[in-house]
């Protein structure tokens, strides 16, 4: 049985599920995710000799050197697409500050001490902000690393050589920050929060999921007050 394409989040499906992510949101997320994993794998190959075997797996060092920047652009395109869809729901609300104060309770699964949250909780917003700013930094430094020959072979740009080591360092350090965020993100969606991975695949969550994790959003879309 094929269910219709979800074009609007926050509706209740005939099966009693709540539409959480539209098809466009999920498409943007997975294009972004696949591009990210490729860039992470190839980036790690270029980062440490202990991961250089990854270059061989993915077609050889020259191949990954060629594709890493292009796939990076695809990643950026997808993250900006997501941003255009989620900007509103990612905006801070007063409850976020209470959530951040009680982050320990959230981590220890004492969710009764955690304030009610909107479509995205304060942790998801922090993850989002971290990824968005890191991506911009990766873009700026990555463009410099893409074409070092312009600096080394154009006498007019020779004075900018100091940019190369700086960008190489910042690019790697920023990428490591995104890997930390990525590990937490994947763990939480795949293992820690049942229903979460499925919501990004099928687009729907149960009413229990919406009510427990995103009470303010749940109340808004169902009109119910408990």
């Amino acid at each position: 049985m094929s269910s219709g394409t979800i074009t609007r989040a926050g509706t209740v499906t005939p099966q009693g599920q709540i539409a959480r992510y539209t098809f466009a949101e999920r498409a943007a997320h997975w294009i972004n995710a696949i591009a990210y994993v490729y860039c992470m794998a190839t980036g790690l190959a270029l980062f440490t000799p202990y991961m250089f075997w990854m270059a061989t797996v993915l077609g050889g060092g020259g191949t990954i050197r060629f594709w890493h920047p292009w796939v990076g652009l695809l990643y950026l395109g997808a993250i900006f697409w997501m941003n255009s869809q989620w900007k509103g729901d990612m905006a801070p609300i007063p409850e976020d500050e209470v959530w951040k104060k009680n982050i320990k309770s959230y981590v220890q699964n004492q969710d009764e001490k955690v304030p009610r949250q909107g479509r995205f909780n304060a942790g998801q917003k922090m993850f989002w902000k971290g990824m968005l700013w890191s991506s911009l930094l990766l873009l700026l430094t990555g463009v410099v690393l893409w074409f070092p020959e312009l600096i080394s072979q154009k006498p007019a740009l020779r004075g900018l050589h100091w940019l190369l080591p700086l960008c190489a360092f910042i690019h790697s350090a920023t990428a490591l920050i995104t890997i930390a965020l990525f590990i937490i993100h994947v763990y939480m969606s795949v293992w820690m929060t049942p229903g979460s991975l499925n919501s990004m695949i099928d687009g729907t969550v149960s009413t229990d999921f919406a009510r427990a994790h995103h009470r303010l959003w749940y109340e808004k879309i169902t009109g119910r007050k408990s």
């Binding site: 190959a45 270029l46 980062f47 440490t48 000799p49 202990y50 250089f52 270059a55 050889g60 060092g61 020259g62 990954i64 050197r65 060629f66 981590v107 220890q108 699964n109 969710d111 690393l145 070092p148 020959e149 600096i151 080394s152 072979q153 006498p155 020779r158 050589h161 100091w162 190369l164 080591p165 700086l166 190489a168 360092f169 790697s172 350090a173 490591l176 890997i179 930390a180 590990i183 937490i184 763990y187 293992w191 820690m192 929060t193 049942p194 229903g195 149960s206 009413t207 229990d208 999921f209 009510r211 427990a212 994790h213 408990s226």
Partner: protein, 304 residues
Amino acid sequence: MSNSTLEVKAISGHRGGTPGGGHYLQPDATTRSGVSRDYDVCKLVDTTTCIGCKACEVACVEWNGYEFRETTFDNTYQTMPETAWNFWNLIKFDEYTADDGTPQWLMRKDQCMHCEEPGCLIACPADGAIVQYTNGIVDFNQENCIGCQYCVTGCPFNIPKFNSATKKVYKCTLCSDRVGAGLEPACIKACPTGCLHFGSKEDMLFEAHKRVDQLKANTSWKNAGVYDPEGVRGTHVIYVLGDASNPEKYGGLPANPSVPLFVRLWKYPLKWLGGIGIAAGVLGVFMHRVRYGAKNVEGEEKRA
């Protein structure tokens, strides 16, 4: 260009130790196996006796089998602004006016300096794309090069040059193929004035200092000196400069070259912190699941 008759000292992007060799971080390594027949080799360039004939440029291009590339006229005698992927040896010309108004016509043979601590090799991520031999030669193996140009990032002399057609980086080999066969580099052989010398580092330093003493005693070059920069632990190409107080005026020769700070931070602390951090992160989230379990919410509404 790889050469099997030379003993390897350090390899780029390599896991673990160097087969049969030491490591540039342990210059006196006793782990070296076998018997080394090599001593540290060195080119000595005496800028005060260079006449700018460019025989070394021609010999370099000829020995390495490249077409003579197009030149750039910029109102000086310099062949082109920088060395190129297929032009590894360039005489840099500078017309300089000294403080007392004396015009100086400065010439310096620019090429790879073959640093004892090579920034290119430290930065390179590709296993075996750059090797340092025990005799001091730093050599690129194009078959292992992936074209990322991290070597360009690591080099304080702007020597490695990218060829956008082959997507590989090239530079002076110090004629490792000739040296490995007991010959002197092509540029040395071509020099008509004897301003280029080749031998052991020890002998070349001795000759260089002798020449500097001579210049100070008998000429107006009172600031003469030897250029063998300590920031890269010395080089296997050394200069006698008429005015060592200002190397920059010799075609932009850096006064205090070193492997860039951010290359060091990137290749040493960040690499280890990153590796440990990723492992700790994966283990950490696993332990979180084991300790605190999952956020099960199904049926919560009915319980409430």
